[in-house]
């Protein structure tokens, strides 16, 4: 038997789930898609007293394309999201990011809420949420609150979610005429990326009104590259030198770490390349 002993609870309503979280809090783990939790249980790195399986909670697997945002219920699986034509129509970079998450079998199970609340800095969605300036809904027995991505992610596997709260929805704003591109580099398809970039710009003609650039797998949490963003504001995106300057600014402002998958210098180079490629595409120029 691989996982340690735990008590299993499978609430049938949101109220019941929140009641269990209130009661067990830190002694419990929430089981959604299980693609992070169950490996951790199998390796006995996680040893919760209670596993609260929320898969039978109704109403959490919603996809809503609203004016100004895409709002997704926490239990919605990536397999469904990556194929959703409504999301592809309004946020194609988001669809691209979904397709880059792990392998088909894993995407059959992984949920958006589980992926984001696990807060793995190498995972695509937290970084994409940062570029979209998105937010998450946290719900407890005493009500719901919306928390912006920057107030949610703290460090590796750590968020500001309280132990009695459940992440119930994720919102990606789609207003302000922003266009986005996403690209990552991984050694094999489906692997965690060595680096990833999500870039969004809002244009007035070819002049950049605002830019949002996030980097994935570079720090202990998803980050925005604000120096590169500032370098873009007010400039003409069709000018290749401007895009080059932004990619250099991005490389200069990040502080990646050396690890067994690649050196800091290597990752800096990858981010620079990815910023250049995504901006080229946003400018309508083939890389």
């Amino acid at each position: 038997m691989k996982p340690p002993v735990f008590e299993y609870r499978d609430p049938r309503s949101l109220d019941e789930a929140l009641g269990l979280l209130n009661e067990y809090g830190d002694d419990s783990s929430i089981l959604a898609g299980g693609q992070s939790l169950i490996p951790l249980l199998n390796l006995r790195l996680a040893r919760p007293d209670y596993v609260i399986d929320i898969n039978k909670v109704p109403g959490l697997d919603t996809i809503e394309v609203l004016p100004g945002c895409v709002r997704v219920g926490a239990l919605t699986r990536i397999r469904r999201l990556e194929r959703d034509p409504k999301i592809r129509a309004v946020a194609p970079a988001l669809s691209d990011a979904f397709q880059n998450i792990a392998h088909p079998q894993i995407r059959s199970r992984t949920t958006i809420g589980g992926n984001i609340s696990h807060a793995d800095p190498s995972s695509e969605l937290p970084g994409v949420l940062a570029a979209y300036d998105g937010r998450v809904q946290l719900t407890s027995s005493s009500g719901s609150r919306w928390v912006s991505w920057s107030d949610f992610f703290v460090t590796v596997f750590t968020t500001t979610r309280e132990s009695n709260e459940l992440l119930t929805a994720v919102e990606f704003p789609t207003d302000q005429n922003f266009s986005y591109e996403f690209e990552e580099i991984a050694r094999r398809p489906g692997d965690y990326p060595l680096a990833g970039v999500c870039a969004g710009i809002s244009l007035d003609g070819s002049q950049v009104r605002a830019a949002r650039l996030s980097a994935i797998a570079i720090a202990d949490r998803p980050i925005r590259m604000t120096a590169a963003e500032s370098a873009l504001v007010g400039v003409d995106i069709s000018n290749a030198a401007v895009r080059q300057a932004a990619s250099q600014a991005a490389a200069a402002e990040i502080n990646p770490m050396d690890d067994e998958h690649g050196s800091a210098a290597f990752r800096r180079g990858l981010v620079s390349t990815l910023v250049k490629r995504t901006l080229d595409r946003l400018a309508g120029v083939p890389s």
Binding site: M1, K2, P3, P4, V5, F6, E7, Y8, D10, L31, G34, Q35, I38, P39, L41, N42, L43, V51, D53, N55, R79, A102, H103, P104, Q105, I106, S108, R109, R188, P189, G190
Partner: protein
């Protein structure tokens, strides 16, 4: 009804079990399981369907791939209790020795296996692909199999086997 008390592991006194009913390869199976039992282990040890292999227990290798309500999943990262009321298809449900599934035939024709450890998972991932996309490109086959590791073949012949099966299945449809 099969009791898994002895067959899978000794359940300590006072550890609760759950009764679950799972349709495995078209047949309803009702078993009592400890909640921490993995679906892969229920299939292998409880139901004695040893065609589903376990390699890594951490969603890396894909050897334990089964179809869950028709979708490919890694059965080492789902609890058996979570399969209650659902349909599971394993390699044993694909064909028989005398009547191979076209995908199994493809692996035979194109030498798509050597040691065979990854093969059941590969074939089920391929089946999920071909049911959705009967005429995949080579890239689409590689993408669909990206969650399955093979340490023998170098993948070339596995991809050929799936494309062979796709051809044959389209011919059968025509």
């Amino acid at each position: 009804m099969t009791s898994l008390y002895e067959e899978v592991t000794q359940v300590p006194d006072g550890v609760p079990t759950r009764r679950v009913t799972i349709t495995v390869n078209g047949q309803k199976r009702t078993v009592d399981v400890e909640p921490r039992l993995l679906l892969a282990h229920l299939i292998r040890q409880g139901l004695k369907l040893t065609g589903t292999h376990t390699g890594c227990d951490t969603t890396n290798c894909g050897a334990c791939t089964v179809l869950f309500d028709g979708r490919p999943i890694k059965s080492c990262t789902m609890l058996a209790v979570q399969a209650d009321g659902h349909k599971v298809e394993t390699v044993e449900g694909m064909g028989t020795a005398s009547e191979l599934h076209p995908i199994q035939e493809g692996f035979k024709e194109e030498h798509g296996l050597q040691c065979g450890f990854c093969t059941p998972g590969m074939m089920l991932a391929a089946k999920a692909l071909l049911e959705k996309n009967p005429n995949p490109t080579e890239d689409e086959v590689r993408w669909a199999l990206s969650g399955n590791l093979c340490r023998c073949t170098g993948y070339q012949n596995i991809v050929k086997a799936v494309l062979w099966a796709a051809d044959k299945m389209r011919d059968q449809q025509a």
